[in-house]
Each structure stands twice: as C-alpha cells, then as structure tokens.
C-alpha cells in the first residue's frame, strides 16, 4: 500500500508452487499485490506487504497457500494468549 509499510520478515505466508495450477485467484483477492504470475505459476513477489488476511489461502482451489491469519489488534492477541494459558481475560475492548 502506498506510503504504508509494516515490519519486514514476519509474514507467515507460504506457497507450494508444485500444486499451483495458475488460476490467478490469489492475485485477484490480495489487496496488497503480494503475488505475481510467472509462466502460469503464482509466486510470492512481495511477502513483506502481506497483512495475513487469509484471502489467498481460502480462495486457492488447490490449497497451495498457507498463512496464519486472525485477530490483529493488541488487545485481541492478549486475550488470545490469556485464553491459551487458561487465564480469564480482563474483557476490555477488542475487535476479536
């Protein structure tokens, strides 16, 4: 996205090119133009732009893409961590 750039080398996006059938769906749904199509195969052109929304993985007809998607605000993640550790959360505002 123009003018906005988040941390590098964190996105969990993975693509199994061996499975890809080159349908182009991932290019269509990604709002950050992460993928490019080369020789009828998708490849990850700009992994650091990925916001882990999961659109590409969910829409790939052959399950070639995986990404850890979910709640992205600090309060939401804290509540998630607390749940994992079985500590009751403080509630509080969350987009969760």
């Amino acid at each position: 996205m123009k003018g906005f750039r988040y941390l590098s080398n964190v996105a969990t996006l993975e693509l199994d090119q061996g499975r890809c059938i080159g349908c182009g769906r991932c290019l269509e749904v990604c709002p950050h133009q992460v993928f490019v199509l080369e020789a009828r195969r998708a490849c990850i052109g700009d992994r650091d732009a990925c916001m882990e929304c999961g659109a590409c993985a969910g829409n790939c007809p052959v399950d070639a893409i995986s990404v850890d998607s979910g709640v992205g605000c600090a309060t939401g993640i804290i509540n998630e961590w607390l749940r994992e550790k079985k500590i009751p959360g403080l509630g509080g505002g969350s987009c969760g």
Binding site: A11, V29, P31, M51, G54, C73, I77, C95
Partner: protein, 313 residues
C-alpha cells in the same frame, strides 16, 4: 474504505439496531434476469453507500446477514462467508431470478469466502470486483473488469480519523477505572492538585496514543506501531511538562512522567493495528513480545519513582 473500517468495533453497542438492514435479495432499479448480482453486508453504512453509487442502474443486490458489521471485519470473523453466501443464494431463489450464474463480491470480503466452494455448492461462480464501493459504477461500465486501481488499498487521513471515536468509546471503561484509581491514589499521597495533574497527564497520554498516533501515522518515523506511539507519547510528555509547570516537580516525578506517558501512548497506538489494513498479525505479535516487557517495566519504574518523589519531598 472508511465505512469498511468504521465499525471494525461494531461491538460498541450504541444503536446497533439502526445499523441493520434485513438480509436478502433487493432490486435496484428494474433489473432483468441478465443483470449482475452484487453481494454486500447488512451494515447500514455500506448498504446505503452501495445503493447510492448504484442509483440509476439496474442490478440485483444480495445482502448477507453480517449482524450489522461491515464487509472487511465480517469477512475476518467469517460471518461474511461461504456458508452465509450459499444460504442466501438458496433462500432468495437466486437461481430462478437470474439466468446467469455469477455473483459479484467486494474484494475485502474475500478472506471469508472460498470461491471454489461457493461454485461447488451453488453453481454460481464468484467474481471479486473492487475494494471500494465507489468504484462499482466504473467496474460495471468497464465490462465488469477490475483495474489495478480498483485493487489498490488506501488509508487516508480521513479514513484513519473516522476510526478514532470508536476506539475512544471502547476504552472508556478502562479509562474510568484506571484514571479513577490513579486520581484517588495521588489524592491520598500528594493532594488534590497533584492528583488532577496526574489524571490529566494520563488522559492526555491515552488520547495521544489513540488519536494522535493513528492520525499522524505516516508522519511519525519507524514502522513499529509501539515505537510510533512511544514517540508521540514522548512529544506529549514534553508539551505536558511545559504546560503543567513540570519544572517545579521533584526530579523523580519528572522522570516518572517521561517514562509513564510514552508507555501508555505506545500501548494504545499498538492496539490500533487491529484497525489498519496493512499490519500483519505476526508482526503485531512480534512487536508485543518485544514491547510489552519494556512498557510494563517503564510503568512499574515510574510508579516507584513517583512514590519516592512524593514521599521524600
């Protein structure tokens, strides 16, 4: 985009019912059986916007039940999802209303949808049209083809600004509890004027983190939201020091204010990542693992300092 994010926190509960539109199939103008079928959420602002930009055209509008939440957030939760789309297509008898087999969805709805599953279960193929509803007319005029510009996200000052009130409403309860506690503690230890200063400083730091950080986002250096928030908080501390007569405070209290306020601002700016459309969850997790111990340490240190400062005066 503004309305997509506007109710990222639609849980704020105020007049929720006013934001609901009954789900189902609507006709805009007098659509023929060949007219396109556009899919949207039953979030009032999105629905109104879509109707407004499509005024004068003849299209079908299929409204999904997202419980008054906008497309982007509902897709993240899965309510704007494959199951709901399949159900609405069946319930509305869409296959009898139109002769073609295409449904047109907003791009930001894609995280909730598996297009190939929709095709398998309904016979309708999914097209992802545009990010913004405002681009729909051009998309339709363009032979239903998406241009690169229609796929490009934006996050303008205005789009960030409209998110701030909701964020503030969400933290009101925390503010009341923590602010009240801080005021009382300071009142007992140091008297009413010090208590008022502490409370104002705290509220200012929260506001800096919630409003100033997000609004000035691209102008504050760094990529980390925690750092951006801390820098904004540091600037606030300096202003507050000057305005509130910080030169008269004891040095531990001065130090405490420059530790605590940036820490508070930092947390709230970091929390804003939940409302942006470019921060990844892994990135936020990394930031939190690094910043939470620092923020916590800064708060504890500043509390100790403030105690020492008021007791040994």
């Amino acid at each position: 985009m503004s309305d997509h994010l506007g109710a990222c926190k639609a849980r704020w509960g105020i007049n929720r019912m006013d934001f609901l539109v009954p789900p189902g199939l609507y006709a805009i103008g007098t659509p023929t059986p060949e007219a396109p079928v556009l899919v949207t959420a039953n979030y009032k602002m999105t629905y109104d916007l879509v109707r407004r930009v499509l005024a004068g055209r003849n299209v079908w509008l299929l409204v999904l039940e997202t419980f008054g939440i906008n497309v982007w957030c509902a897709a993240g939760k899965g309510t704007f999802g494959t199951g709901e789309l399949v159900r609405r297509v069946a319930e509305s008898g869409l296959a009898k209303v139109v002769t073609h087999r295409r449904v047109t969805l907003p791009i930001l709805g894609a995280p909730g949808i598996a297009a190939h599953e929709v095709l398998k279960q309904t016979g309708f193929s999914v097209r992802y049209a545009t990010i913004r509803a405002e681009d729909l007319p051009e998309y339709l005029d363009n032979g239903e083809r998406t241009t690169p510009a229609m796929r490009e996200l934006s996050f303008t000052m205005y789009e960030r600004l409209v998110l701030v009130p909701v964020e503030i409403v969400l933290v009101l309860k925390t503010l009341l509890v923590l602010g009240g506690g801080l005021y009382l503690a300071a009142l007992i230890l140091a008297g009413s004027s010090a208590a008022l200063t502490a409370l104002l400083g705290y509220l200012g730091a929260v506001f800096t983190g919630i409003a100033l950080g997000p609004v000035l986002l691209p102008f504050i250096p760094g990529r980390s939201f925690a750092v951006k928030g801390a820098l904004a908080g540091l600037a606030f501390s300096a202003v507050f020091y000057a305005v509130a007569g910080g030169a008269l405070w004891s040095w531990p209290v001065q130090l405490a204010s420059f530790l605590a306020f940036p820490a508070v601002s930092s947390f709230y700016t970091l929390n804003f990542t939940g409302c942006t459309t470019y921060t990844s969850r892994s990135g936020v997790k990394k930031e939190m693992r690094l910043s939470l111990p620092v923020l916590g340490g800064a708060l504890v240190a500043s509390l100790c300092l403030a105690l020492v400062g008021t007791l040994v005066k």
